[in-house]
Symmetry: C2
Subunit: 423 residues, 2 copies
């Protein structure tokens, strides 16, 4: 008998009809002979409505109480889903994150999973029930308070539960068909990826892809849980995120799996830093102390004449002001000449395990960008990813150029779009 974990987001259960549709899909999976565990988000806009209520009584709600309030949303949808399943003739039990054994840190609003001890879930499955777990929540290990877990939490919980329950795989149901070779809204010729490796998905998530959260993919990779990302509004196969070993070796390995962009970053340049040991360290300690996440770093070779160098780095725009303040405060101490801030940038990345075994990927990428008139401001690479920082207004052109250059365009779409037989 198989064992499967499903996860459904708020848009899948926006109303009573949505709940009933999801119940039917779950029951079909159970009927096929599987143990089924479901992680569910709050219905539609419930979380926003509860936040709104909170704002009405207090402009600065205490974090512990905000978590007590918000977790009601998932509790409601979990109970309703269990009822809908019972109505179809199958037994279901709903569980809060706490009851499901989701143990977390006590950082309210952004708690991390410490462990999952799903004893009651195992018991429920053993009795033949379908288990429904309220997503987005757990219980703090030290205080025993209810916690909510920040962005991507329900996806991460679903994968973590799948790992703890030794499930065969985890299905993340969302409102897109799967992971695409590029954002279809930018590149109409983008194609759905049938299978992608954990490492590639990690890079794509880190570089701007929004469908699966980084934490979720990291958990899947660590515990080797196959993840199937698919649409809750159709029966189509989605994208499987699996161990690289599972990728089809017989087929010609595509060099690049996909192109992603991130338009939420800003670039800070510290101009004229004295070229002395420790200066760069002091700069990055300062920025880290301001609780920001630095992404790409570029340090130019120091100019011989001046013995000074420029250091540029990128970070989330939301952290920009904070980092600038922190750096401005230590101007005299470091002795740099100037601070520049640019939030009109975008980061474009090509990702693919194939680039390990294929030389010339950078060359092809930079060449395609040049042909499209896109200037490269910064470059950063990993074994399976190449990222460039470009002018924000040229991001879409850069993505499109790279997608075509690496033969990712759907020829059929190309023919339709351009009225020809493809390039």
């Amino acid at each position: 008998m198989g064992r499967v974990v499903h996860k459904y987001g708020g848009s899948s259960v926006a109303d009573a009809d949505g709940i009933k549709r999801v119940a039917q899909r779950i029951v079909a999976t159970k009927k096929a002979g599987n143990d089924v565990v479901v992680v569910i988000s709050a219905m539609g806009d419930t979380t926003d409505e509860l936040m709104d209520l909170a704002q009405q009584v207090s402009p600065l709600p205490p974090p512990r109480e905000l978590d007590m309030l918000l977790t009601s949303g998932e509790r409601i949808s979990a109970a309703l889903l269990a009822m809908a399943i019972a109505n179809l003739g199958y037994e279901a039990r709903s569980f809060t994150g706490s009851q499901a054994g989701v143990i977390t840190t006590s950082a309210h609003g952004n708690a991390r999973i410490i462990d999952i001890t799903p004893g009651r879930i195992e018991e429920s499955l053993g009795e033949g029930h379908i288990a429904i777990v309220a997503g987005f929540q757990g219980v703090a290990q030290d205080t025993k308070d209810i916690t909510t877990m920040g962005r991507g939490a329900s996806d991460t919980t679903a994968v973590a539960l799948a790992a703890a329950l030794e499930a065969d795989y985890c299905e993340i149901y969302t409102d897109v068909d799967g992971i695409f070779t590029a954002d279809p809204r930018i590149v109409p010729a983008a194609q759905q990826i049938p299978k992608i490796s954990y490492e590639e998905m990690l890079e794509m998530a880190a570089c701007g892809a929004k469908v699966l959260h980084l934490r979720c993919v990291e958990y899947a990779r660590r515990y080797n849980v196959p993840v199937h990302v698919r649409s809750s509004f159709s029966q189509k196969e989605g994208t499987w995120v699996v161990d690289a070993k599972e990728l089809d070796q017989t087929m010609e390995q595509a060099i690049i799996s996909g192109v992603v962009q991130d338009t939420k970053e800003a670039k800070i340049t510290v101009v004229g830093v004295p070229d002395k040991p420790g200066e760069a360290a002091r700069i990055f300690e300062t920025v880290a102390g301001a609780d920001t996440n630095i992404d790409m770093i570029v340090q130019n070779v120091s100019a011989v004449a001046t013995n000074r160098t420029d250091i540029s780095f990128t970070l989330p725009r939301a952290d920009g002001a904070r980092a600038m303040s922190a750096l401005a405060r230590m101007k005299d101490e470091v002795g740099y000449e100037q601070l520049l801030y640019d939030d009109q940038i975008g980061k474009v990345s090509v990702v693919g395990v194939g680039m390990r075994s294929h030389p010339g990927v950078s060359a092809k990428f930079f060449s395609a960008l040049a042909d499209a008139g896109v200037n490269i401001e910064m470059i950063s690479t990993s074994e399976i990813r190449i990222s460039v920082v470009v002018d924000e207004n040229l991001v879409n052109a850069a993505v499109t150029a790279a997608h075509t250059a690496f033969d990712l365009d759907d020829e059929h779409t190309q023919a339709v779009v351009y009225g020809g037989t493809g390039r």
Copy 2:
């Protein structure tokens, strides 16, 4: 330092403004130097709205899941109230029934309190917090499932918590000013009772008074918790429900404390029951087996000629059909002649510890009814209560007559109503 438990119902916290008003009252109590624990119901119509959602996904929701769903309502109001209190500068913590240590049976929708172990509440009070407990809910001792506790549950929880925490008293905030000598909608001259004993309140609750639930009063009596029933919309003193010893002995003890009516009962008469040993027992076993609550019983002396007797009893109208079916099925076995059903009845009761020491109360009561043209169908008494069953259409006349006969009318109101100086 005093220790007080407050309970607020749904109408007191119908919206954000209601929550903020309640928060201010709680903070005023805390400021006066008390430990404060609050039991709170769901906001306004929340419970009904959740029931409605449940009905949309399933016409027969499983009881466990219904409890998981409905308890979200109290969780939301408890968290919001804690936020509102924090906004006034005082620390508050909200707790589910489970977290507060409310241990119950596993009868979903109608669970009973087995025990209260409020360790986390004590801890919270010890840290100077105001503790908010979600009402209407607990955790089942055996299954550890969340349970809801049926009618009057939040009042009972508040009193039970007050007992477990050894609080000085429990204040039940509601939408009436207190307990009255009669329903003011029937008797405009009804007066608010300043103090009443547990036994009298028990009788009044059992005989139709709706402000405090029977279970709540029984708990208060058993653990000697003074209960103050008052309005959440004013600062007026309400009615104190206390041990009979606390009643003011120096004042002339009113013979009757109040008149109550119950118009939700029906009368069943089993006509012509053979006067043999065991027949009556068989009848009541049958009715009890149909899971009904019998109230008053009257058995006529058997007619010498026929050796048959008529047995009448009253029960809640909701149980009427069930009892009639059960009795009809055993007609041959018992051998009675006929079954009569009458739901056009009402029960009127006069309650007062004073009747122990004053003879002639029955005579005065029956005489007042006769003068008002009200025929008595059945009579039932306890040490401190006399109840009569009358035609439902004459209930109001009976209540009014008894109220006046026992000098309970507010003379001022009487003067205003009748334009004279009172009777």
